[in-house]
Symmetry: C2
Subunit: 253 residues, 2 copies
Amino acid sequence: MSGRLFVVGTGPGNPEQTTPEALAAIEASHVFFGYGPYLDRLTLRPDQRRVASDNREELARAKDALHTAASGEKVCVVSGGDPGVFAMAAAVLEALEAGPPAWRQVDLTIVPGITAMLAVAARVGAPLGHDFCAISLSDNLKPWTVIESRLRAVAGAGLVIALYNPISKARPHQLGAAFAILREVLPWSTPVIFGRATGRSDEAISTMTLAEADPTRADMATCVIIGSPETRIVERDGLPPLVYSPRSIGRTP
Amino acid sequence: MSGRLFVVGTGPGNPEQTTPEALAAIEASHVFFGYGPYLDRLTLRPDQRRVASDNREELARAKDALHTAASGEKVCVVSGGDPGVFAMAAAVLEALEAGPPAWRQVDLTIVPGITAMLAVAARVGAPLGHDFCAISLSDNLKPWTVIESRLRAVAGAGLVIALYNPISKARPHQLGAAFAILREVLPWSTPVIFGRATGRSDEAISTMTLAEADPTRADMATCVIIGSPETRIVERDGLPPLVYSPRSIGRTP
């Protein structure tokens, strides 16, 4: 007997940015696995059960969810943002590949969501308007030397960079180290955006240059976007500046 | 007198993936600018007017929209997917920066959407589960040499690659050339996903290896995802394979 497993992204935290598809998956599920603060955003019925776990326990959570679904339950694994971007979908697939054959037969649906960098970008203009990348600064799951060489490669190639997991209590130094590397490669006038808790009541968005970028402005809920050498800041009287990356390079617009 | 300008992303095409925020912006607008097929997806009231234009006329469309909003109208510029990813938000900002000062005072709201790569990724698993980038293959707006060097840099650095605008009638050769470059850098066993019209009635998703990747499978509505050397294919009896990029590299999971 095989149940159903949804892996759902609820978006950055503003309910207006959660898709009807995600809401329908939540409505159809009976057991919910996720990081507590993400589960707290859901409005559940009395017949819907939640199993909260810490945000460093993704693989164990994924196994529990697959096990529960394989036993016939309708299960929902909840991520903020998009589940496929530094979130639960990859953990579920890792567990599925390593687990018993029955887990591969679970009816699996992954429901995309608005990921943080898209929400932050929309708040300030169009910094991701040209080629860009998303890199996690967490070295829990990869060596710092790999992160360092990736930052050099993408900045040197002219891509805009969105940094996920820029900082945590256990990793206070990575973002400052990343800015130091990027200052070796990029003009110090390159725009940097700190986007925290976009669309939520405690939202804080700020734009500055790479020279000014101060890592202590970031926390776990922050997505940091670093422009390319082409990225521009447009000042406005009495309004916050806009930031965008032009669609064209090397040609007269 | 200054109106209002929304730049809205409706997602990949399935109405269930359009956010309430996008629907509210559409509801609040009176004049709609966009590529005809994107405007066709909207259900408009008799008092709402549409101005369709070709998909090679983004800058002219952006100017018209800003001009109309600055004259006091409530205007909506419509993109498929996310407006900040190879879409209208950057064109609006380019026009705004170069235009009359009044355009900077327009009340501007950019509404994010599910961009194609997230929707394609969700259909097959979690290929964007680790560091990744998004690159447009169109050389209408940048030299082909830049595209080539970016492909080499990001593939060499181990990022998963999502290719937007992989091919068009005017540009039939780029995707084949991109695969040829990537075959020099990546293992030929690297998974490649062709995701066409995700979530729409004519959806077509296929997974193969870089060795097998055939550029003629792509059209303008296709987003192509090329894995990193870490990306894995998980076979399932009687079900389509899953594809994911593990969260960790260089460490035993």
